[in-house]
Symmetry: C2
Amino acid sequence: MGLTTRKMIAADLPAVREVLVASGAFSDEEVRSALDILDAGLAGEQEDGYWLFVAEADAQVRGYVCISPTPLTTSTWHLYWICVDPGARRCGIGRALQAHAEQFIRARGGERMVLETSGRADYEPSRRFYEQAGYRPAGRIRDYYKPGDDCVFYCKIL
Amino acid sequence: MGLTTRKMIAADLPAVREVLVASGAFSDEEVRSALDILDAGLAGEQEDGYWLFVAEADAQVRGYVCISPTPLTTSTWHLYWICVDPGARRCGIGRALQAHAEQFIRARGGERMVLETSGRADYEPSRRFYEQAGYRPAGRIRDYYKPGDDCVFYCKIL
């Protein structure tokens, strides 16, 4: 399988939207929020805005990642979304997107990546993915998203 | 001393700006960021946007607080800025602003308030203020703001 990663362009939007919905990991509100961020990220190319990258397997967009430098910090970035087509999992697409984002951040002097994810049981595979990728838990807020749905913070030193 | 709290209006901006600069707690970049948020908060009255309140002591604006509902959560709010004129400290202004914000949030069904602050030694009074107000540490990210300047997360159940 030919796997490549590159900057997202407007023409990728329909495929990215499909991946986002198909992933099944996000509520309608989360999908809307992710789409708003895609529009903002594609519209403006600001150093301090959102940066979007896609992964293509066999010339098909199968996942994307959204990162942004964290305001009021010197070298911290946030990982907002990373999303892989459920039909293309276990192919290294998530890892490739992670690696692309980390290289991009390091090249800009970034030194750590922070993310927030759910503590719910059905997010266990996501948390394992992050932990295997070198993220360490940095805190937890109970019932953050909704009752029974904690937020877990992770940080990776780049 | 007559102490009152109320919604911020555009006419408060010059006094709020003075409090923000005089507080000495914020870098130039942080002051600019706070002012941008004030402009955004005063411009739009959106339920999901920033909410701003001031405290007046003897008819003079001496502090303000900025809060916002946290996106993609059902009942979590963030406290972004709370700032008191250094010449009017130890008068209960910070507490009054906290109480006003908490009442406002509770009236809208909010159940917890989250904030991020610095782990630096010179922020010890701020952290003590939050801890005495019922906030509990929920995590820490090393060197988050800059080398030697950790981020500490707090959460208060309302």
